[in-house]
């Protein structure tokens, strides 16, 4: 048995009802997790088939560090063709599912086809089977998990499942695990729904071995003592997760307010829905994902149920971006999104856009079925969420996603829709923090802050530190455009390493420079797998993955530099007050950052496409041939890569 891997993958053909177990040798070039998913997706995804087509695969993988004591190694990579953008679909979820999947015996599950009837996939050391899900079709994600545990008489099962949103094809439906862990962007829930796959349930029992257990133990003890237990990041997040870190009273931090129209929310509003308010009202306990000593999450009571959350992202989605200051309503919206199986970011984006359209007179009561949509009024939004899931009323339009909804409504509503590559954005600080904004928009999965957008940009890192860490110059001023393209490139490659090994991006260099450096990840990776890959090797693998995803986006969606645009609203409306007053995304500065970004990646700056030389250097020449076969000529003679 290989170390850090089970050495097995599971192929599921839902059309034929066949499960096939296959041994695999691993992939030094793509490591694991998102890497091996994207590598296989590139080969398997037929051209001319959208992500909902039975021939289109969805892949789940747990990286080599998952299932070990390496802190935070718990992430599940879910990869597919994005049904919002048409390009790369790639989501990532924490919790306990990924480790349980490995203990059940599999590094990777590949699902294709469409079942003639609703099913769920059961995976354990004793059983790999498709089970009838007719009786649970229609249930929300929480009830689905409960019911499968009862049906299988196994309370220790871990599930990822879809709710009614995925069943009904909402374009931004997602998978939910652990009652609050979402594989959010790109519509994976709708893809499960189209495949008539209600859930995957896993139960372990098999071991994960490591190459050098005693040396790993020593390294873990040292790392925990010297890094985890001395980290400011860890100390703050243990107090209350990203909410504790994000909501500092009086800090005037940028937020997303009222459909990202404003960047600052008054302290009284924030105080009404501060972390302490939620803790006082409904905290059951602090909560950790599998193998994570940071325990940044929490379990809250909501009604007669319990729910995982609320983190800064869901707070931004259902408090500030909708201007809701009723903590009960914020929690209801958060819990409902999880139960329906809706991506919180996209849900917030379409709801906030609908409210702003109503406020500006673009839509009226005729469109809303008589409802009045006002900032801070959650009850109509609860009804609208129900319509989205049921496909009725205005909800039927919103269920198509923000970009499509703006196209359908027309009437100049698109100027209020903030999107990248057709994907809805729901982000803070994009006007003021320039690398943050660039990383959000260049994300190969269409948009979002969990790729190259560096959270450390807000920390005003001294030039000597940025030179030592990243090999690049001054990045101290968040509002400056200089050196930011290089910084985003570095983080895109680094995020690839995090995702391929199965680590969590939160307690990493994304947030604090001392946490999980590439050198540290390489040490853990070597002790676990017995491989000899250096930090530079891993970062090169990150660049390879990033570039492969660009190729996928070129092949299936035609994306390039022309699509990496400043969202118009963020260029038009500056920050109105606070320390970043007057900041906005200026087109000239944006283009300079893009020039730097493509140069740092070794791509052609005019098209934004990788050059044939870059593909060769990364071992991707064969992947490039597929584009050539499709009549796509990649540019030649690009600039030097940063790696």
């Amino acid at each position: 048995m290989p170390h850090g891997r089970t050495g097995k993958m599971l192929w599921v053909d839902l059309t034929a009802g066949i499960c096939r177990i296959q041994a695999h040798d691993g992939s030094p070039a793509f490591i694991g997790g998102r890497g091996i998913n994207q590598r296989l997706l590139f080969d398997l995804q037929p051209e001319g088939r959208d992500g909902l087509h039975p021939d289109s695969p969805v892949l789940l993988s747990a990286g080599p560090l998952v299932g070990t004591l390496v802190p935070g190694a718990c992430r599940l990579a879910v990869d597919f063709r994005n049904i919002v953008t048409g390009g790369v679909g790639s989501a990532n979820l924490g919790g306990h599912f990924a480790a349980e999947m490995k203990f059940a015996g599999f590094d990777q599950i590949v699902i294709r086809g469409r079942s003639p009837r609703p099913v769920y996939l059961l995976v354990s050391p004793e059983t790999v089977a498709l089970r009838d899900a007719t009786t649970i079709w229609g249930l929300d994600t929480w009830e689905t998990e409960n019911r499968i545990k009862r049906l299988e008489n196994e309370p220790r099962l871990k599930t990822v499942s879809i709710g009614p949103a995925g069943e009904n094809g909402v374009r931004f439906a997602c998978l939910i695990g652990d009652r609050g862990r979402a594989a959010g962007y790109g519509g994976s829930g709708a893809i499960f729904g189209a495949k008539r796959l209600k859930a995957i349930a896993v139960r372990g029992g098999l071991p994960v071995t490591v190459a050098r257990p005693e040396a790993l133990l020593d390294e873990l003890m040292r790392f925990n003592r010297e890094t985890i237990e001395t980290s400011d990041f860890v100390r703050i997040h243990r107090q209350g997760g990203t909410l504790a870190a994000y909501l500092r009273p009086g800090e005037n931090r940028p937020h997303a307010v009222c459909n990202m129209s404003g960047a600052f929310w008054d302290n009284a509003s924030i105080a009404a829905v501060d972390r302490a308010v939620f803790d006082q009202r409904s905290l059951v306990r602090r909560h950790a994902c599998f193998a994570c000593p940071v325990y940044c999450s929490a379990v809250y009571r909501t009604g007669d149920r319990v729910c995982e959350g609320l983190q800064a992202n869901s707070w931004r989605a259902f408090a500030s971006n909708l201007r809701i200051t009723d903590p009960e309503m914020v929690m209801r919206l958060h819990a409902l999104a999880n139960r329906y199986g809706l991506d919180g970011d996209h849900t917030s984006a379409v709801l906030a856009w609908a409210v702003e359209c109503f406020q500006e007179g673009i839509i009226g009561r005729n469109d809303t079925g008589g409802m009045e949509l006002n900032w801070g009024d959650g009850d109509p939004l609860i009804r609208l969420m129900g319509q989205i899931v049921e496909g009725t009323g205005l909800g039927a339009v919103l269920a198509k996603g923000l970009d499509a909804a703006a196209g359908e409504i027309g009437r100049d509503s698109r100027r209020l829709a903030i999107t990248a590559h057709g994907n809805a954005l729901m982000e803070a600080a994009m006007r003021s923090h320039k690398a943050w904004a660039l990383g959000i928009v260049t994300s190969t999965k269409g948009g979002g802050h969990l790729r190259g957008a560096p959270a450390v940009e807000a920390r005003r890192i001294p030039p000597e530190v940025s030179r030592a860490c990243f090999g690049i110059g001054d990045i101290q001023d968040p509002t400056a455009y200089e050196n930011k393209g290089q910084l985003v490139t570095w983080y895109e490659n680094y995020k690839g390493v995090v995702d391929m090994t199965g680590l969590c991006y939160l307690p990493s260099m994304w947030m604090e420079l001392g946490l999980f450096t590439p050198e540290q990840i390489a040490r853990f990776h070597s002790l676990v797998t017995g491989g000899e890959q250096t930090a530079a090797d891993l970062m090169q693998a990150g660049a390879r993955l990033q570039t492969l995803e660009h190729l996928f986006n070129i092949l299936h969606a035609g994306f390039g530099r022309k699509d990496v645009r400043v969202p118009e609203k963020l260029a038009r409306i500056p920050v109105d007050r606070g320390p970043f007053a007057g900041q906005r995304l200026e087109p000239q500065g944006w283009e300079r950052m893009l020039d730097d970004y493509y140069l740092a990646h070794g791509y052609d700056a005019a098209s934004g496409w990788p050059t044939v030389e870059r593909l060769e250097a990364l071992g991707l020449t064969e992947a490039g041939r597929r584009l050539a076969a499709a009549g796509i000529d990649l540019p030649s003679a690009g600039g030097p890569a940063m790696m």
Binding site: P207, V208, T209, V210, L217, N224, R285, F290, P293
Partner: protein, 75 residues
């Protein structure tokens, strides 16, 4: 030696299960651990020690617990 657990402190990371299985078997497998975290329906957790627990002199379960929910002692 003794092991004392306080379920009210537990955050459910299951590092103790991993550490125990490594100590007992030299590999990671929560099913082979002598300690188990039970996730209750009401959101609370229970730390359960099985009869297989050896109350190790330097228990790894306690060493890896990030919240002090598992404490080793002389008795």
């Amino acid at each position: 030696m003794s092991i004392t657990v306080d379920s009210r402190r537990c955050v459910g990371c299951r590092l103790c299960e991993l550490a125990c299985s490594l100590a007992r078997c030299g590999r990671f497998n929560p099913d082979q651990a002598a300690i188990r975290i039970i996730f209750e329906d009401d959101g609370t957790l229970t730390i359960a020690i099985t009869e297989a627990c050896l109350a190790c002199r330097r228990p790894l379960c306690a060493a890896f617990c990030p919240v002090g929910a598992i404490v080793s002692g002389e008795n």
